[in-house]
């Protein structure tokens, strides 16, 4: 398998250009599905390769639980710099699994606690909470999908903008955006090079919900106004965790996109455009990742099979 076992670890870099361009140049639905798919595939391949490296790394450790044949020189020779790479793969794999586990636990904890908080309310689709802080979000699963919105958020919007807000949140729920978001988060935990894709998908899901909401209420301008008014009303409210976005931030970009022309629903852009090239680069990267990891897995399995006495 040689050097090829390392490549899926760095091939996520080929998806950076498309992560950067997708939000502006692709239809948000296409961008979300595509980036989530590429991200998940690359994360899977990179984890498979880490496991392969880990097997080689563990087999050389004294007192390991693996069959003796696995520390065969031929197995070790299949990975260049196996002493370093094999041993480095062990903590890396531990970090990957811990990170993914924490993400999953946190995901379920937030969702469970948010549903618990709403237990005392009637089970309507929209839960309105008397709260001086403006917020609105889609809360998936639980007893039922719900849209949670505070009275302060409703107070800063007109009736058409409120319809836009509810339409936006319903799209999040209907399109199961939380699954896309969870997948890219897990992928970013599996390989830090996939973090730009996580950020990009967070933006494209919002854009997707914006565009669908605009169709539902029949006016892109209304959705733009709703976002703008809500954002201006809630500035100064403590919103942690998202302060690190580079200017211009995602909110003005969303509003500007809605004020501009509607994005074309075209699944695959022409090759000789920036986004077309970026897309092909990412697709090639994903394909190579899959090939290299599959090839490495088969090679190692055959080597191990040959080296195992039974």
């Amino acid at each position: 398998m040689g050097i090829f076992v390392f490549l899926p670890l760095v091939l996520p870099l080929t998806a950076w250009p498309v992560a950067r361009l997708a939000e502006q140049r692709l239809h948000p639905r296409t961008a979300t599905v595509l980036l989530t798919g590429v991200s998940s595939l690359m994360a899977l391949c990179s984890t498979v390769c880490l496991v392969l490296l880990m097997v080689v790394g563990t087999a050389q450790l004294p007192g390991n639980p693996l069959p003796d044949g696995w520390s065969d020189p031929e197995v070790r020779a299949s990975v260049p710099h196996h002493e370093i790479a094999g041993k480095a793969a062990i903590p890396a794999l531990v970090a990957v699994f811990t990170g993914c586990l924490c993400t999953l636990l946190r995901h379920h904890r937030v969702r469970r606690r948010a549903h618990e908080a709403l237990e005392s309310l009637p089970r309507t689709e929209v839960a309105v909470l008397p709260d001086p802080r403006p917020y609105a979000y889609a809360l998936p699963r639980g007893p039922r999908d719900r849209v949670v919105v505070s009275t302060a958020m409703l107070a800063c919007l007109g009736s058409r903008e409120r319809r836009a807000l509810f339409a936006h949140e319903r799209v999040h729920l209907a399109a199961r955006h939380h699954r896309h978001l969870l997948l890219v988060r897990l992928a970013a935990d599996a390989n830090p090079f996939l973090r730009p894709l996580r950020t990009a998908v967070a933006c494209t899901t919002e854009r997707w919900a914006d565009e669908e909401a605009a169709r539902a209420v029949g006016s892109r301008r209304t959705v733009a106004r709703a976002i703008g008014q809500a954002a201006l009303a809630s500035r100064g409210a403590p919103v942690p965790a998202l302060a690190a976005f580079a200017a211009p931030g995602p909110l003005p970009r969303r509003v500007a996109a809605l004020l501009g022309p509607e994005p074309a629903v075209r699944t695959w852009p022409p090759l000789f455009t920036a986004v077309g090239l970026a897309l092909w680069t990412a697709a090639t990267g994903a394909l190579l990742s899959a090939m290299f990891s599959a090839n490495s897995a088969v090679t190692l399995l055959l080597l191990l099979h040959a080296a195992t006495p039974w």
Partner: protein, 127 residues
Amino acid sequence: MTEPDPHRRRRAQGALETQVLAALNDARGPVTAGWVQEHLTAGLAYTTVMTVLARLLAKNAVTRRREGRSFVWVSASDGAGLAALKMHRVLDGEQDRRAVLARFITALPAGDEQVLRELLDQAGDEG
């Protein structure tokens, strides 16, 4: 001696507020702070209960009126007020809630505010 973590302290306060409000919601009518203290499982000091009630009063989550020499307290809202307080705790407690809660709006950095206002003016003019 170290300073208590302000974040942790706020969460603890939030927990007390939800407990006190839940007790008031269970009460059949206006009750005194002493009643609340007796019906809390946490075994809080009377002064603590008073502090929590005062904080809830400031948030308009409870109302009070004078009856004889002391106040009686009523929960101002139905389940919604309690739900809002609990939701507050979820939002405060989780720094990284983006994965679950796709929010309508995110933080608006200072520099973006001007950009956004100009865009909105544009939307208002043409729309």
